[in-house]
């Protein structure tokens, strides 16, 4: 196994992907990344997909994998386990900077119930207490961590009491887990939940904006007429976002103990280079049929250098 000896001199470099980025459709992007790393370092690269967050995080933290692409929350966890895990690149915003390098997590309600959460024309989450809540899964950043943090802030719940938000019959009358962003949305649209948490990226294929925009609180979203399973029987139903939280883009990280300084530099340079951003296998064209790993919002979209400092907001959310 490549990672069996985690010294600087390791001949192969293992790159591990989160379940999300392990998707089959990103196979092309993964291969392109492999080639890029091989070209930069001259070493053999091994790609490793996984279907379990923990496994990916432990792999990079323990140095069995040298490079990983993770979510912001996962990075914080990995960094907490081992300070050797350091971010070196993240997806930029449309302007090619880190300023708005975020995506959105929502708390949504059904359109017919939206009124109940409106006060003087402004939506708030004051009324979510005692409702039926649907999360994605307890390992999700945008479908769990960020929403619970938002609710805790609103209701002044101490960190040590946050477990209350996760189980039925405490803060919420009922807590459901959709298992995925889609599943959480289905819970809401079917009426099993009153409030649901999910993000924009995962629902874009199924929902269209019918009022407002993806970036505005109080917008209305409707299930597309040609939506695939599990939305096939739910077409035309509408939901409203009553809260929107920015989530920081996840970083590319390496384990500084397991990767030589030289290789670290070479990889960071390659990833943030122009040619990398122009690789069509990695950054999808604006209207490409099959999306690649990173969407090209504009010409300036690219990977930019990041440090642990930039993730301070997420550090704060997680609590360490």
């Amino acid at each position: 196994q490549s990672g069996s000896d985690s010294s600087d001199k390791s001949k192969t470099i293992t790159v591990v992907f989160y379940p999300n980025e392990s998707a089959k459709s990103f196979a092309g992007s993964r291969t392109a990344i492999k080639k890029a790393v091989e070209k930069a370092t001259g070493k053999t690269v091994k790609l490793q997909t996984t279907t379990d967050y923990n496994v990916a995080i432990q792999a990079i933290a323990s140095g069995k994998a040298q490079v990983a692409y993770m979510g912001a929350n996962g990075y914080i966890q990995a960094h907490h386990k081992s300070k050797d895990v350091v971010p070196f690149a993240a997806q930029s915003d449309a302007k090619g900077t880190l300023k708005d390098a975020t995506y959105n997590s929502y708390l949504m309600v059904q359109q017919k119930d939206a009124k109940k959460y409106e006060e003087n024309g402004k939506y708030s989450i004051k009324n979510v207490k005692g409702k039926k809540m649907s999360y994605v899964s307890n390992s999700s950043t945008s479908g769990f961590l960020v929403p619970t943090a938002e609710i805790s802030r609103e209701f002044n719940i101490k960190t040590s009491d946050q477990d209350k938000l996760t189980q039925s019959g405490q803060f919420f009358s009922k807590v459901l887990y959709g298992g995925s962003h889609q599943g959480s949305a289905v819970n809401l649209i079917k009426g099993d939940a009153d409030v649901a948490a999910f993000d924009d990226a995962d629902l874009m294929p199924y929902l269209k904006v019918t009022k407002g925009s993806w970036d505005k609180v109080g917008s209305t979203f409707t299930v597309k007429d040609n939506a695939d399973a599990p939305f096939t029987s739910l077409t035309g139903k509408s939901v409203v976002n009553i809260a929107m939280m920015p989530v920081q883009q996840g970083p590319w990280v390496y384990n500084t103990k397991a990767l030589s300084k030289d290789d670290q530099k070479k990889i960071a340079t390659e990833f943030t280079s122009k040619s990398f951003a122009q690789n069509k296998q990695i950054f999808s064209e604006p209207n490409a049929k099959t999306p690649m790993m990173f969407p090209k919002k504009s010409d300036k979209s690219k990977l930019v250098k990041v440090t642990d400092k930039w993730y301070a907001p997420t550090h704060k959310l997680v609590g360490y």
Binding site: Q1, S4, Y53, N54, I57, Q77, H80, K81, S137, N138, S139, D163, T166, Q167, S168, V175, L176, Y177, G179, G183, V186, N187, D192, P230
Partner: protein, 262 residues
């Protein structure tokens, strides 16, 4: 036929079996790229890692209340699903066992059905049940019920097939009919084995809580998942410890019960 030839044939057969097994081993090792020695040498390290990371701390003791409550709920679901499933399994097993089946066609049908239930993967169960039956205890119960039914039907069938056929013949010779043979012969003869299977399945269902956690969002399986994914390994370790204790207690009780009814 001389003894020499006989034993040569024996040895030949044994060697063929061994060769096949070694072949399977080598081929699958190559196919999945498994490194035997490197892996075996890492086993102690893994155990060390487990014990250093998953030791419950004083902090995790404070979670004891909710964990015990969920453990209790899970135990209830495990018991009830096993009991209901074992009723059905018993009927299917009697109808499906070679020695007691009314018609061989039924036997194949039952074996096939049981195999189906056992081999539908967790992900598929989740898809089948979750989208239709919502996330609730009942859905968890259903999933456990079906899986248990698959295993118990097979186990019961084989238990019954292993009984001494002559003893059943003694009852047939008395003129007992099918049901009487079953109730007065098969069941008493197999009772202790069947009971130990039921008790074992309860234990198994208690452990196999991942699926239930997924389907119900409650239970000790959910809690484990929650702590595990939140990297609160001490609490997850506490859960494992409690499950282990409960499983051992169950096993001891089940041994005592088996001895008492044997």
């Amino acid at each position: 036929m001389t003894p020499e030839r006989f034993f040569r044939q024996r040895r030949l057969r044994l060697s063929v079996v061994l060769l096949i097994l070694i072949g399977i081993y080598v081929i699958s090792m190559a196919l999945v790229n498994f490194q035997a020695w490197a892996s075996i040498s890492k086993i102690p390290a893994g155990l060390m890692w487990l014990f250093t990371n998953f030791i419950p701390t004083s902090r995790s003791i404070s979670y004891l209340g909710p964990i015990l409550y969920q453990l209790w709920r899970t135990l209830l679901v495990a018991i009830s699903s096993t009991m209901v499933a074992s009723l059905f399994a018993l009927v299917f097993a009697i109808l499906g066992a070679k020695t007691t089946t009314p018609t061989p066609a039924l036997r194949w049908g039952i074996r096939f059905g049981a195999s189906l239930l056992r081999n539908i993967p967790v992900v598929a169960w989740a898809m089948i049940l979750l989208f239709s039956f919502k996330q609730s205890d009942f859905t968890g119960f259903l999933a456990l019920f079906f899986m248990t039914l698959g295993y118990l039907t097979r186990a019961f069938t084989e238990t019954i097939e292993d009984l001494d056929a002559e003893k059943l013949q003694a009852l047939q010779a008395v003129g007992a009919n099918y049901f009487q043979c079953v109730f007065c012969g098969v069941l008493p003869e197999a009772a202790s084995t069947l009971t130990s299977w039921v008790l074992y399945m309860i234990e198994n269902n208690l452990r196999d809580a991942t699926l239930v956690g997924l389907l119900t969002g409650t239970g000790v399986g959910f809690l484990f998942d929650y702590y595990f994914k939140a990297f609160r390994y001490d609490a997850a370790g506490l859960i494992v410890l409690l499950i282990a204790i409960l499983v051992i207690v169950l096993e001891l009780t089940s041994n005592r019960i088996r001895r008492a009814i044997a």
